[in-house]
Symmetry: C2
Subunit: 318 residues, 2 copies
């Protein structure tokens, strides 16, 4: 298995630079003084589609040859990757076929449709999703783009950390959340080359701690019945991702649900940006003192901002 | 009365450049395609203290001579200006005395206190506020910094439009909300010089339309019993502000409460940033077709992001 290297991330960055937002890096003096460290947040919640996932999907779609691309791309996903792949495909002018469980929330379906994705519904089991996807790929000849266990996707995700370090200089620690491991593996590769003295630390919900256990037991342990409000982090770590993470990550720590909500709220209130629970997980680790941050300069990748605002009391104003 | 010119804004920018955030300018392709125009949002909700007000307060505080500054600054305000003045004073190492109605929400008091402001409470009438402030100024010798009817405050506010045009090039239209007129007067002066072909258009809630009426009747009409959720826009336009606005603004339009809420929600959902209702007023004017925007490039200053998130259902997660 060929693993991505920094040169592959640099090439990805060249490819997608004009297609993605170079997202801002924000800081809060108040938070820094409360937490006794300097935090720099790379705002991938402000990325197209509202998540870093657009980087990987975009790189994977634009790395295809004309011939490969002609028949389109496909994936099974109900989350940010589905929307990201649909938009990237539309930007290249090719079809995106998305397999989605029939139980997916309406808001997720709408997002994929709004970017021109063609949805095929299936039963809400992993088996049904894989069978439907295989059938769809055979019928259409579309190239499957896995959400994280994919060379080009990992390279695309690594461009966020590359920009963060380019824009803000060297860090003592670089952090991101871990779900399937696409963001962490890209982040780790980019950081090891650009900022070799930095620690690369990932944070994971206690209720979905397969990466934590895999990392510490040195073998890939799948996620079984994960439960967390950080709904972007429910998936099991991918094989390619795990190999990279084992070699290039310094630590994985876990956090409580309570700390995730506190961290999310702190970022909404103090920084005036909307992040989804998954994006709050690294800050949650700092709030729970899971690592020594005193006096350190820390880069954190805020993974996304897609929360269902339907629950907010806007109607009280109307 | 000496009115500020562009050179004064440029000087203010030199003075405060290292003290304020150079806030990002964000765009949403989806919103642009829905609205048939290109919108560039200058994110002063991401400014220190969560509002553009920090620019003006900071310029006013740092423009004082050593001797003037030594005795501190004072103002009466229950909003963003109070917090902004407290922080600017703390950065200069001088006291800030804030007169605040005893009925002000706890969250506003906390904000001022957290930045080291010294609060004096008074009865919730304009007369009591002015009397208390005069007494306080006499006792302490502190310099009064008015929230908008102040030369240096106007110059500071004008730096937001200056940065917007420097960063994104020329616009067809530059927009901001109007309350007391500090932001609009600074924006108009900066835009007239840097981007003379652009229209400068302000938006105001129908329920607080004193600027709209003053502008169209060519005389300063005070705000009487204003009512709007855009609580930053309740004040009457200042005298210095009105003179500038009459000369340098192309149009003031009014918007409904419903459109303000729709615009606020659209920005939260599509752009993943938190803005206060006042900041949504220019987009509300576009949603209500109050100006012809088709195919145009429009710069909008998002004035602030201070909303009370206590009402949001975070507790449901806890």
């Amino acid at each position: 298995m060929k693993l991505p290297e920094f040169a592959d991330i640099a090439e990805a960055h060249q490819r997608i630079r004009s297609l993605v937002h170079r997202t801002p890096v924000l800081s809060s003096s108040t938070m820094n003084s409360i937490l006794n460290c300097s935090l720099y947040f790379k705002c991938e919640n402000l990325q197209k589609v509202g998540a870093f996932k657009f980087r990987g999907a975009c790189n994977a779609v634009f790395a295809l040859s004309e011939q490969q691309a002609a028949r389109g791309v496909c994936t099974h996903s109900s989350g940010n990757h589905a929307a990201a792949l649909a938009l990237a495909a539309r930007m290249r002018g090719i079809p995106a076929y998305i397999v989605m469980p029939e139980t997916a929330p309406a808001i997720k379906k709408q997002a994929v449709e709004s970017y021109g994705g063609q949805i095929t519904f299936c039963k809400p089991t992993l088996e049904a999703r894989e069978t439907s996807l295989a059938k769809l790929a055979a019928q259409t000849g579309a190239v499957e783009i896995h959400p994280y266990n994919n060379f080009e996707v990992i390279c695309g995700q690594g461009t966020a950390a590359k920009e963060l370090i380019e824009d803000q200089g060297l860090f003592d620690i670089v952090m991101c959340p871990i779900g399937g491991g696409g963001l962490l593996s890209g982040t780790a590769i980019a950081t090891r080359t650009l900022n070799p003295k930095a620690l690369v630390i990932a944070a994971e919900p206690e209720g979905a701690d397969d990466a934590y256990r895999s990392f510490h037991e040195h073998r890939l342990i799948p996620s079984v019945n994960p439960k967390t409000i950080a709904d972007g982090l429910l998936t099991s770590v991918g094989e390619m991702n795990f190999r990279i993470i084992q070699r290039k990550t310094d630590e994985i720590v876990t956090v409580s649900e309570r700390a995730i909500v506190r961290a999310m709220r702190m970022i909404w209130e103090r920084m005036k940006i909307i992040i989804e629970p998954s994006a709050a997980v690294p800050l949650a680790a700092i709030l729970e003192n899971k690592l020594d941050v005193r006096g350190k300069k820390i880069g954190i990748i805020l993974s996304g901002g897609n929360v269902d605002l339907e629950k907010l009391p806007f109607h009280e104003f109307m």
